[in-house]
Symmetry: C2
Subunit: 449 residues, 2 copies
Amino acid sequence: MFTCTLNPQSRTTLCDQLYEALRAQIMGGGMASGERLPSKRQLSAHLSVSQATVEAAYARLVSEGYCESRPRSGMYVAGELPQDAPAAPAKEPPIRWDFSTGTADAEHFPYAAWARLMREVLSEQSTALLMSGDPQGSYALRCELSSMLRSMRGVEAAPERIVLGAGTEVLAASLVALIGREKLFAVEDPGYSRVRRVLTTNGARIAPTPLSDGAIDVRALYLCGAGAAYVTPSHQFPTGSEMDMERREALLRWAQETGGYILEDDYDSEFRLFGRGLPALAALDPGGQVVYMNTFSRTLAPGLRLGFMVLPEALVPAYRKLHTACSVSGFEQETLRKFISGGHLERHIARMRVIYRGRLQAMERAAAQLGEFHYFGTGLHALLTVGGRTPAQELVPRAAQAGVRVSRLCDHGIVSPGAREERSVLLGFAGMDEAAIEAGMAQLARAWK
Amino acid sequence: MFTCTLNPQSRTTLCDQLYEALRAQIMGGGMASGERLPSKRQLSAHLSVSQATVEAAYARLVSEGYCESRPRSGMYVAGELPQDAPAAPAKEPPIRWDFSTGTADAEHFPYAAWARLMREVLSEQSTALLMSGDPQGSYALRCELSSMLRSMRGVEAAPERIVLGAGTEVLAASLVALIGREKLFAVEDPGYSRVRRVLTTNGARIAPTPLSDGAIDVRALYLCGAGAAYVTPSHQFPTGSEMDMERREALLRWAQETGGYILEDDYDSEFRLFGRGLPALAALDPGGQVVYMNTFSRTLAPGLRLGFMVLPEALVPAYRKLHTACSVSGFEQETLRKFISGGHLERHIARMRVIYRGRLQAMERAAAQLGEFHYFGTGLHALLTVGGRTPAQELVPRAAQAGVRVSRLCDHGIVSPGAREERSVLLGFAGMDEAAIEAGMAQLARAWK
């Protein structure tokens, strides 16, 4: 059987190593066109890697035309191989240091606790968990979320107002119908493109609204007649700034006066690494105009697809009318409930805060030689205004050439910003340990020297 | 601590028994206003029922005003109790026999296999499963689904065309943007109201289209200029009929000629209990106009939120552009993959087919005294045209008075049908065992005599 040596300590993922080894074997003629590859099960046992790793490597080989999958039969070397190695990989080395902001730490996932609680849930054999259940999610879980919101964010949210869903995208999609497709949805520019796309995909018109001092320009909301404003006050994406108290009050005033809804995405608020954060808009809202949204993608893992929102009381009946089932599995809901009520989530976040603080500090130290470093106290990415003579439009490609993934601030906006924003890159520090961060930053220094 | 005797053999669920006992205690003064109820954990241990059961009973007490939940503190008897027992429960007995079509069998869920595989998945500690992964879902799982579709339904679906999602509602919602909000979506009338609502909620205009001989009227599709038609050919909901071959061909011809999309909801096709079924439209489609949809809600359990669809190749790039994450948890995807590849799903379906056939036969025997019984070979509900002198509009209320839940055929349509449809009730047989079905049918005979 095909064999190769995989190094779990390497900065290249096992999957990428396996992909490279298989591709080399195929392109070197070691495996002929039409030859059957070992089954995922066989190869994973043979190489002592998970089936998911083999699967991902195979999927990439298929997508790039080296192999083809024949249902019920297996994986085969493609009849016609790509003429050359595909253009991109030939010119660009694989990414070894990933500073993108969408990544999360996978090394410290609390597998032991999660597995034990999931086992408990399954051994209870509750028939209730097998049914569709409440469209807002399990009431008991919502009680836990309610306590959590009170203690962590000072937000008073009755369980009756909480809605669980399979991630921010699913929840944001439901808000378009709830608030009204005829309304104008203001979004921050620069801002979070995924939510922007979810809104437009669901038929909403959006109004990209500039930032003023790091927060959405409230005057512009009045001006454009927005019916809702999607904002990230704890950790503005992508600039990283926090909305100050004055702007929070102005935004709430806008909502009160116009009847507009504030969609407060409180992502990353758990990761206040320095100083004290300001209260959530939902904690200040006097009159039911704030929809509070958050996710467990960062505090646990994106692959779990667990998010929730708190609706103003007035929107709850409409939500219940439009939805008959919650989009999260009953088993995972109950596991999450036990996880929170057992104090595991709180401990995990506290632990990760320490780890992330160390990573941030390692990054800041290494950034000194690169340019101006900006971090506003909260969240899992920082901003670097790159010094030196590398042209702004060369920053990302040169980093990629050196095996480093970064994005520029202006990649996240709709309207092109000033020269300073063009030289600012986002540096996520959730996905790598301190040593990798230091090595990646050193590599950036070489790429941009 | 509050105590009561719960009978797991009773036809009343443990949750309803517990609710009734607590309510009686509160209304009888056995627990005073403001008194704290035992924690869910304590009560579930004390009474030897699952926490989910206690939770559900508490949730109902809260929703009906007998108790209030105070976050971080617990559950308390409400300060002001409802003046009287709520109107509905006083006038109507609890539902003891539930013939509604949304139920599923929860007694035979393969807990042992599912728990073992989930344990395996969690013990592998794959970091890949923690990440967002492919927006269409895990490639390896899609390969399994592809084989399954080929062997069970004769549908050739490359894994690249398969999309996994958290249930039919989430998937149907994504189709509106994919096919185009400006298109007219034809739906069967009578038809499946949940999908109808998902389509309109997401901004689609729908055209309720009458049935002709148990299948959507293809002439009407040409006439109204539909751009898509949502159909249930294996087991038309609610009439239960199967679309015959001639109509399948006509429908495919319409799609070919007009470029319209057929949204084929193949739910219940696994439960062909008698005779041979016809091939799926997706198996007959010559030109990429059919979106095939199915769910594991019936073959496994609705609470898992697992559904999938097969897109025509032309729609895949747009799907990948609009979606960045799959809405199903990585752990559940991998558990399902192992479940299918280990042959568990096939065995479970085969086993349930035998069980459901027994239930259907019990129902048919009992139906002889009630009216004309209709079952077309596939699916988990039958139709009964009720004889006797009970007025049509009295059928459902009288059944409810007798503790039996049924719905009428005309409850699922938009345009009022003829007298015969008004006397037809849907009888789902998935949620009860044979003895309960017999008792429920006998109760119906008493209610309608």
